[in-house]
Symmetry: C2
Subunit: 294 residues, 2 copies
């Protein structure tokens, strides 16, 4: 991967973070500890992949990058909410995230639970407040709720937690990946295209890209969990096998998992074929993220 | 209070529960344990005060009772989500709720956290899916998000938890009551009137009713916590003083708290003066709920 793309991703993250920082400043009276806990995880340095997908899909649909800030912030709020709750002692029980203390380690369990809760609700508040037409706002809210709720990310996380008691199978791992990770990545792409005014054909197309890319992304993460170090990842690694998580490496081994990643990236990129060079950034992202050392 | 009103409240709860039960049946593939945990708390027998407020405010605005089911279900989902998370060991650590095991006692902490998360998101999904006009849907979603999020219920619950470390004061107790309890009750009234097509004058009026009633309701609850028994309440009592919660009885004593309840109910009822006998049910409810034995 060219360092140009890495640079452009970093520049985007900086630009997005400025906007996200503004949006995460309360106008009314909010307990400062709650605001601090919400910002601790959301504003920790990150690649901002999901907001990037939102912005690029918005531009692909003919929208402007700045139209996409609030949608990106909504998706990133949901993502941060899921990280905060997943890290809790009752769930994955993690102390480190992105190289810093997890929210409950820094603020205590009660405040961490509430910070996650508040970020989840804030995502919908953002979409209701910052979308020009009510019709578009409702479409975006429906997409995000379905991707996040019982039939999406939260359903996937539940299956993940329950799956720890069962032996790994490919169908269970697929079910979990599709919901826990790919659903929100797919929603980021679809919502970006919707916000940019794209027709249903484009929305479906970038959504399908997001689905395949999301699957490749989660399997890559599982591979890194097995082969990388805490120092590189900024979080505890090697825990999936000890917790007998439902992962592709557990089911089909490292080599076959790597082959599935490559195949899913190719299927993702295929979805963008008719979009020409306008979609180069999405293609680069898919290859970049799944190309990490494993 | 006449038994007629009690009967009508019970009949309403039965009718609402039929509809709520249908709405809480997933169409897609959702882990059964998650559905069971969501339904455990939401469908436990309850008075359904908030959906009642929604339905009556909707009718006052000229809407039909059946228009209000989804809005009532959304409010009740948020309420149940808050109960599930408030009961967690890291928060109030309660084993009993409405006479049955709390969600985490029945399903474990991880699933309880996720069930609360899913109910919160589901509320917004319901409003996006079941409101006839996009403009109305966005108005409802904005009301609910503001009442629930960092500047509403979740902000209030955070202040409540943090307030346990501080000596009780009337201003802290008021801040907490307004957000933790009154905000959602106020939203129930406002959203019912919005759903029924009421103008902003009516929406503000029933909202102000809900604000005062909500405050009276919370103080009554705090009084009952001091003076009632676990058997009558279906949950542990007497815990507020041991945890040094910010409550009115802690700040101004039993007698003064009772006087404040009566004054708040009268201020609530005053808001409805120009609405004539159409608002009798709301008046009856305010007096009924705050007239419990304490």
């Amino acid at each position: 991967m060219t360092s140009d793309f890495t640079d452009s991703l970093r520049a985007f993250a900086e630009e997005f973070d400025l906007q996200f920082n503004k949006l995460l400043t309360p106008k009314g009276e909010v307990p400062q500890t709650l605001v601090d806990a919400m910002r601790h995880t959301t504003l920790a340095p990150g690649k901002r992949l999901r907001p990037y997908l939102v912005a690029r899909s918005c531009e692909l649909a003919g929208g402007r990058r700045e139209d996409a800030w609030a949608v990106g912030a909504a998706i990133e709020s949901i993502h941060a909410f899921s990280l905060i709750h997943d890290d809790l002692p009752a769930m994955d029980d993690d102390d480190l995230r992105r190289g810093r203390l997890t929210c409950h380690k820094a603020f205590g369990e009660a405040v961490a639970i509430l910070a996650g809760d508040a970020l989840s609700v804030y995502a919908f508040e953002l979409l209701a407040a910052h979308t020009p037409s009510p019709k578009m706002a409702v479409d975006l809210i429906r997409e995000l709720a379905q991707a996040t709720g019982w039939s999406g990310m939260i359903g996937g996380q539940t299956a993940d937690i329950l799956g720890e008691r069962e032996s790994p199978t490919l169908s269970k791992a697929s079910y979990i990946h599709e919901r826990k990770t790919a659903a929100l990545i797919r929603a980021a792409c679809r919502m970006g295209a919707l916000r940019g005014g794209g027709d249903s054909n484009l929305v479906d197309r970038v959504g399908a890209f997001g689905s395949h890319f999301g699957k490749a992304f989660q399997i890559t993460d599982d591979l890194l969990d097995l082969t990388s170090s805490t120092e590189v990842m900024g979080k505890r690694v090697g825990k999936d096998s000890t917790a007998s998580k439902q992962t592709f490496p557990q089911c089909v081994g490292l080599e076959e998992s790597r082959a599935i990643v490559l195949a899913e990236v190719e299927r993702a990129v295929e979805q963008l074929a008719i979009l020409g060079s306008d979609a180069d950034d999405l293609r680069s992202l898919a290859r970049y993220v799944t190309d990490r050392n494993y």
